[in-house]
Structures are given as structure tokens and as C-alpha cells.
Point group: C2
Chain length 347, copies 2
Amino acid sequence: MNPIFEEHPHRRYNPLTDSWVLVSPHRAKRPWQGQVEKVAGDDRPAYDETCYLCPTNTRMNGEVNPDYQDVYIFNNDFAALLEDTPPHSFEEDELFKAETERGLGRVICFSPRHDLTVPEMEEAAIRKVVDAWVDEYLTLGGKDFINYVQIFENKGFVMGCSNPHPHGQIWASSSIPDEPMKKQIAQLKYWQKNQRSLLADYIEKELFKQERVLFENEHFVALVPYWAVWPFETMIVPKRKMARISDMTDAEKDAFANAYKRLTVRYDNLFETSFPYSAGVHQAPTDGEAHDEWHWHFVFYPPLLRSATVKKFMVGYEMLANPQRDITAEKSAGVLRALSEVHYKTK
Amino acid sequence: MNPIFEEHPHRRYNPLTDSWVLVSPHRAKRPWQGQVEKVAGDDRPAYDETCYLCPTNTRMNGEVNPDYQDVYIFNNDFAALLEDTPPHSFEEDELFKAETERGLGRVICFSPRHDLTVPEMEEAAIRKVVDAWVDEYLTLGGKDFINYVQIFENKGFVMGCSNPHPHGQIWASSSIPDEPMKKQIAQLKYWQKNQRSLLADYIEKELFKQERVLFENEHFVALVPYWAVWPFETMIVPKRKMARISDMTDAEKDAFANAYKRLTVRYDNLFETSFPYSAGVHQAPTDGEAHDEWHWHFVFYPPLLRSATVKKFMVGYEMLANPQRDITAEKSAGVLRALSEVHYKTK
Ligand SMILES: O=P(O)(O)O[C@H]1O[C@H](CO)[C@@H](O)[C@H](O)[C@H]1O
Ligand SMILES: O=P(O)(O)O[C@H]1O[C@H](CO)[C@@H](O)[C@H](O)[C@H]1O
């Protein structure tokens, strides 16, 4: 990379969402006198009787969780999307447009163990989470009123997660949400122009450059994208173009579990803390089309910037004008690449 | 409004940015067990010798602030954009594109008084802030390498603001940032189609409907936009189409100061706390074009949802898929409309 971009403010283009990020490499030196985050105590019991996600406990709506052994999935008791939504659409003119949105929300407990998180789970247990995602994608996506299935995880209090029990969510909707829609449009344009997958071409070039790649296994590459917005944003991309996670072979599912664990262990090791993030899958809609343009991938958006307690605030300029970051993607990749894949707690 | 939208999950269209927001009215009932924000103590002295924004104090770079009487402006000591940036652009192919970004960052102290915030300032003092913004917009925008001037304020620790002394920022750049660019494209399309201002038509309809308007004065309307994302998001819109804040008459500048104060007093009264937000102006670029399509406006994005300590987290689904809100714009408007315009501290 041209050293000019290592030192000077610049913009980088995100070809997946057709947007720009402002990069201010010199700004990492700025002193921080602002808000400092609380670090959650790491001394959780394996079972917590007050946790509504632990096996055998009673949830707010009176339902009792089974004594589950690996993954447990149920309908979100406070879902933002509901199956029982009457169809209605309203368009007074181009300024007032609304339509009801049918959908549903699911919660996935990743493990019965209250004290674990993904980086501390066995690969075989993570593989069960992957299998559950594939099942849910197929079952939910198979419903005629569901056209997009968003699989994600909010981890850590700083990410608005209200329960440290390892779990993720699925929000399935009739319409295709804005972010995946942007990626679909960009991938389709690239596909039509080049008859190739945007992300397959991208990771091929990244594997050649070796500036932002963290590691690879037989089927996946983990990297800090060239256009990363969050300080330690990363992506796990399958080497083979697949539109959806249900296209994975058994070997690919194992390889994904491997990459997921290795990346999150590095994250925990970065500041020797349970590393917060929002993460999830972007993949083809379930609208019955083939979607040859789609190359699914897994993204991580972690908020921490300098330590376990100092995060990057996406406020002010970022909300009103343009996302902005204070270190380059290459610097972040260098830091993450140098970290051990042995979890700090087990050392 | 059709009561169906008061009860059921739905999407609303934002014609200014050509995007959608998911609204889940039923979800406000959800219990909150997550992160609770710290409330900053409100007992600040009028002068704080450790504050780098107070008059006569020395800043980190050794410069001494003058004994200023109203507004004081200086170059940001840790600006994300720098004037001294060499031009360079890079485009390997459509996947790797970057260009250096020349610009500058300014800090505006709104008052010498460390203990005040906008809602506690006199209208005449707020008017001086407005005058300073106009000056800066003209001076910075007059430079040949500046094509957009983003005026904004981050208020409160929860918004990443590191100093409670009342102040705002200006980031001026060579390129037009993503958010204003989206608004420009939408307004231009509307202008070309209808020969009318999108926002003039919009506020005319809102003044007729009276569902989301908070108040108006002779020259401005304050409202919760139909497509609001943040729980108590608002806009102040001039009744007359003006492309830029420098088009305001004296009377309009006074009227803006009046609306700005009245709205922020209501905000402070909402949870009887110094109400955090990011706020700022969206207006025409300074690229030498007329920009007849632009109708400038002032937006407020406040994070609080239910109390001084419980905020809305835009994470997970919102980051990966689509912005989502838990109460309708109409409910929020009703709450803000019912509040007093006398600041709770002076009661
Ligand atoms: O410039 P400040 O106030 O130190 O920093 C704050 O505002 C900036 C502009 O919105 C953001 O980029 C930073 O993340 C935030 O902490
Ligand atoms: O559903 P939860 O975990 O209670 O809530 C969390 O995740 C949701 C989906 O990302 C967000 O809408 C909420 O703001 C956040 O607090």
C-alpha cells in the first residue's frame, strides 16, 4: 500500500455497500478524556438461577426452558417482528409511505453453560450453532411471508446485550432490510459486469497482497476489510462462492466453526477481556430467486478502540456526515494477526 | 394516521435519504435488564481550571485561550481532517479505491460559562452561536479545497463527548460526505420532478396534519419526522426554502435561536436531565453550484429511550440490517409536545 495512506487522512470506497469511510491515521494519538465503559465481571457461574436463558429456568412469559444439552431455540418473547401482523400499505404521496411488516424473531442459546462465550466453546459445540443457523435459515426462509433471515449476535453490555448467557438472535422479515439490499445491488452489478463473484475476486486479491488477511483455513479467509469502519472490524468469507449458509458442505461447516473460534479467541486476547461486538451473516434473501450474485459472509462490528474500556463513538460527524475511523485497516490487521490463538484465560 | 400503524410492526420510508426504518410499536413494553448509563453530575462550576475550553486556560498544545466573552473558535488540536494533506488518488480496480481527503476541523465554544448548555443559555447568546456558524460556513466554504462544511454538536458523555463545556465542532472536507449526499440526490430528484422543495412540501403537510409538529414560530417548524429513527429524533426546518444557513435574514437567525432553545429545553425537561444528543445542520455543499434543490435543516439524534439512564442501542439488527425503533414518531411527538418550555432547573 502506498505509504501516503498510512499517514494522511483519506477516504476508502466500500464496493459492497457503495459507500465511503473517512480514515484519519494520525488521530490515534488523540488523548481520551471521555466516557469509560464498565467491564463486566468474568466470574459467572455455569448455571445462574436468575438467568432466563439457562436450562430449566422459567422465562418472563411463564414458559420453562428444557434441560437442553447444546443449542436451544425459541421465539423471542419481545420480538420486534410478529407473525400475526395484518397486511396494509399506505402511500399518500412520495413523502408519506409506510407498510406493515410481517416477520418473526427467534433467540438461540449457543450453550447451556452460562459462563461460556463462543471463543471459550469447543469447535464441535460451535458447529452445533452453525447447524442450528442453517436449520433456521431453511425453516424460516421456507415460509411464504419471509424473504430475508437476519442471523446475528449482540455480545457484551456495551452492545446493548442484556444477558451474558451466550446467545444470538434471528429476525426474519417480509422485506429485505437496507444493508443486505445494498450488498445485493452491488454484487448483482459486479456479477452482471464480470460474470464473477465480487467477494471471490476480492479475497483472491487480499490473499495475494497479505496486508489485511488474519488467517485462513481450507475453506475460509478471515480479514480486516479494506473499507472497515469499526476499529477492529473483520469478515469471514468462504473461499468458494455460495449464496447462502445452507450451501455449505459438512467440511465447510466445520471449517467455519474453526474460523469463528479462532477469530473470537484473538478478539478476547486483544484487550484480555470478553470482547464485545455485533456480528452476523449477510446472505441471499429467501424470496425464491437463485441469487447467483450473492457470496455469503460473516461480519464482526466490535466497538472497542484502545482498551477494554475505551470504545469508538460513532456519533456527531459519523451520524450526520460519514463513518470515520482513527487507525488504518492495515494497522488493525497487524495487531490482530500478531495475537495468539490460545485463549488468555487458559494460559 | 391509520391506527394499524399505531399497533403493528411496519416500515416507513425516509424520502430525504431514500431508506426505510422498522417501527415496532408494541415493543416499548419490553423490560430492560441491560446497560444503564451514568448520569453526569450537574454541579459544574462557571469556570473550571482543568477544562481546556474555559477562557484563559492552556490547551494541550500549549496555546492559551483568550478571555472570551461569548463565542470562541479555534482549530481542533486533534482534527480528523487536515489542511496539509497531499492530493493522491488510487484506483487499482473497482474493489480497491481510495483518495486523500483535504479538510479542516474547528471547535466552537458556545459560551465562556463552563456550567451552561444551550437550553440554559439566553436566546441572545445562542444567536451569537448562529452568527458564528454562518461566518464559519462562509469562510471555510469560501476556500477552494472545501466543498462541504459539517456543523455539529456532540452533547453528553453518552455521545462520546469528552468535555461538558458547551461546544460544537465543524469538520470541513473536500468531498461531500455520504449523508448530505443522499439528501442532495433525493432533494434534486424531487425538485426536478415537482419544481418544489421536498421539505417545504413536507412541512406544509405536517402543519396541516398536526400529528408530529411540536411547535412553530414565525420562520421555523420543530417536529418529529415521520421517518424518525432515534426515539426522540427531531428536526427544525425553515418555513422558507433556503439552501444554506447564510441565506437567513436577521429575523430568521433570531427565530432559529428561539426554536433551538425551546426544543432543547423540552429535551432537558423530558427526563429532567441534561439531555444528550448529536445535532447539526444539513445544507448545500460549498462547491460553487447554486443548489436550488437544497432546503437546509437542523437535525437532533438523541440516544435516550426511557429515562436518563436507559438508551436505545443501535446494534445487532440495526447495524447489520435496518434501523429499528420501539415507539412511533407520533407517540414521541405527543410526549415532547406536552412538555413545558420552562427549564426544570429554573422552576
Ligand atoms: O472530536 P471528539 O469530540 O474528541 O470526538 C467525538 O466526536 C467525533 C466526531 O463526531 C467522533 O469521531 C469521536 O468518535 C467522538 O468521540
Ligand atoms: O433484543 P435485545 O437483545 O433485548 O435488544 C438489543 O438488540 C436489538 C437487536 O439488535 C436492538 O434493537 C436493541 O436496541 C438492543 O438492546
